[in-house]
Symmetry: C2
Subunit: 310 residues, 2 copies
Amino acid sequence: MAIQSAVKRIEGVLAPVVTPFRPDLSPDPDRFVRHCRWLLRNGCAGLAVFGTNSEANSLSVEEKLELLDALVTGGVAAAALMPGTGHCALSDSVRMTREAVRLGCSGVLMLPPFYYKGVSDDGLYRYFAEVIERVGDDRLRLYLYHIPPVSNVPITLELIERLLARYPGVVAGAKDSSGDWNNTRSMLDRFKDRAFDVFAGSEVFLLENLRHGGKGCITATGNVNPAAIGQVFRDWRGPDAERLQAGISATRKIVQTVPMIPALKAIVAHFGNDAQWRAVRPPLVELTAGEGAGLIRDLKAAGFSMPGLG
Amino acid sequence: MAIQSAVKRIEGVLAPVVTPFRPDLSPDPDRFVRHCRWLLRNGCAGLAVFGTNSEANSLSVEEKLELLDALVTGGVAAAALMPGTGHCALSDSVRMTREAVRLGCSGVLMLPPFYYKGVSDDGLYRYFAEVIERVGDDRLRLYLYHIPPVSNVPITLELIERLLARYPGVVAGAKDSSGDWNNTRSMLDRFKDRAFDVFAGSEVFLLENLRHGGKGCITATGNVNPAAIGQVFRDWRGPDAERLQAGISATRKIVQTVPMIPALKAIVAHFGNDAQWRAVRPPLVELTAGEGAGLIRDLKAAGFSMPGLG
């Protein structure tokens, strides 16, 4: 397959959208669609639904397909979507990826299979290659999801090299959630001029990523602070870039004082005046009342708000 | 719920049955049923289908349900089955566990949700409790699957304590695949007289486990060496116990010189004269020709065979 440079690729700030649950812990499509719309109106270029912060692996494939369908039916443009479609089971990954392509999603963000540890690059290559071959659609844009602190299965530069050589244009980029800027920098340097789009896994690295040829970030706090993060993306060449970057890094630092996923949900619940948003599926647990109150107090003290939410 | 001591629980040697694949990597129910029958005729008391060595997490829920149905339809007694039903997604675990109970399986072996790392015992407790409550069937016998080298999410003694206190009789035991005899010993000592059945995760610990009140083992190599391992279980009080234990430990040592799952499949393929058995799903890879030949050579040199296979 040749590189299909004519197709417009997504870039900018993407949120790995948090997934709302009803009191019985079933996914809530209405709240989900509303939050997605708010994100797109407030600075997000796209939505990496079904990411780590979405509790995607706490959802069945059927539950995810229903939410994806609700989004598209609810008027969210498929071109703004980069759903997570990587599962431990090849069959699940093929099913989700095929559906994402069928719906016209801009791309998919794929975890490696993460149950077995210490697997070889040969095995991972074969895994991604099987997904690509079985989906068998030139419209597929596959972004590799490198998040070793959680998956414990890294996506090495050598693996990317092999996949890019065989599937240029389809293998479209990566999200680097290693938390290690040196690794992101290595991806950027090694694959520049290869139509390989690198997204930082945190807005803390957004400005540096853009300065070195990266395309944006896919970041947890994009769920709550999209306008400010989006502004860094828009104005990164401007005189205020460093100050804007410092602002979003400071906000993230406040959020990070407590566990990220329940924190994001507590923030959406508070500023959207909708307590049901706090619900997480086990094995995660909600913030304690004290943690939640402290987080909101610190955010307000820093001037944080979420206008138009709820 | 009261402890239902009247119900006969499974004990002895269980194999986490390897899953055969067709050339297109779809699961092969015919080969699966044949291998399960061979195992039950040759020393296995039960079958822990859909375990780590079954590549269970490389299968979709639908694929597993089809295989389980094929077994029961194929005449394998549900009372001999302890399927793995633990997934990252609560909804998947509930669905699989409910079906296992409906079919009359002796028990289920449940992994903790294994995507998020560093989760709290509160979150894990809530996870298992939700599964138990949602399945809502007194026939459920739930065995906790402690395999931190792979899952990276341990089942602590404190978690077991809490679950046992709330769900005695339903929480029926554990498989300890920590590889740490001291941990197995701690489980045995702490929960003796609590109707909590401990299975060693390797036959290397079988004799020690039985001597300290354990109920058997659930072991990878049960797939290929069930008769000899079953003999240790039967004769563990006899004068030959140490010698028999040394024999099965020596056989395991040979198998362990190469990656376990492709090794088991290569052994079944060779002694069953059925090369298709070698197939694994990515991210795993088959043994190289050299690895396979060396393994078979070493096993034969040690007098190993699989009579009646194939």
